[in-house]
Symmetry: C2
Subunit: 137 residues, 2 copies
DNA sequence: TTGCGTGCAAAGGTTTTGCATGGCA
DNA sequence: TGCCATGCAAAACCTTTGCACGCAA
């Protein structure tokens, strides 16, 4: 069933994201960061690889805010990202995994009272994290 | 202070969105819909106008799902859209304004317990609405 | 050796911008 | 009349795709 080859580029990209769990990167960023370490990956390959990793639920894709490009961030599969919500800081980019009961209760509430089935994977709370709020508004 | 002219195009675009509160439209959709009524608006003007309307909080911008283009939808200023959450159906596109206490309580919880300040304007719950769930999964 | 992966270049689509013209106030 | 708005065309981006070559297994 394993129809995929292990290549330098895929290892490189996955490692990069795994080593930078705190931030998200556009394809452009990714290539720039890799090139700092004298590593090169073709643009098309980068796009193809992040698509692959998104399908495998190893990366999360964030839509461009206004204009700009999509960004990607590592999400560990073991953290059960499919079952909790995500809080994304709009200032520093930090992604917080909120595994809290209150939030799941809300999802239930929305489903029962509003008849609306919430897609956890696509729903992100945007705002500002504790640290950024601390560092002067 | 009013540095803006009232033009046919702006009236037209705002009216269109106001008369179609239930759905969201890409620039391409918008121009197509208007042309059905023998109304024309240049593409550049359409982009410039929706940007303007977004700044004025009369439209809400939805980032493109995967590839594709951004879409825009009317949000009435009187409905206090800045203070409640939005549920967006990924099937039919309907935007539900959830003015419910449970949800505001959650925002408080997130702020108090997680130290994360939620930006209501940018946060959208994606999922599937009651009707679409009814019409066969 | 087989067939997937890569990289280049080209294509496709969306959004922005420059500039001359048009139109509101 | 003075500016802002419009529309066209061009440009700037972002992303996808075709194809020949490279490389893992």
């Amino acid at each position: 069933m394993e129809r995929q080859y292990k290549t330098r580029q895929r290892e490189l990209i996955l490692s990069f994201f795994r080593e930078h769990k705190e931030n998200c990167y556009s394809i452009r960023d990714l290539i720039a960061e890799l090139s700092k370490h004298a590593q090169t990956v073709g643009e098309a390959t980068a796009y193809r690889t992040v698509d692959l990793l998104c399908e495998q639920k190893l990366l999360k894709r964030f839509a461009p805010a206004g204009a700009g490009s999509a960004t990607f961030q590592y999400v560990s599969p073991e953290s059960a990202c499919l079952h909790h919500f995500h809080l994304k800081c709009q200032k520093c980019g930090k992604l917080i995994h909120a595994d809290c009961e209150e939030i799941s209760k809300l999802a239930e509430h929305i489903e029962k009272e509003h008849g609306f089935f919430v897609n956890h994977a696509d729903t992100v709370f945007y705002g500002e994290c504790a640290q950024c709020r601390g560092n002067g508004e």
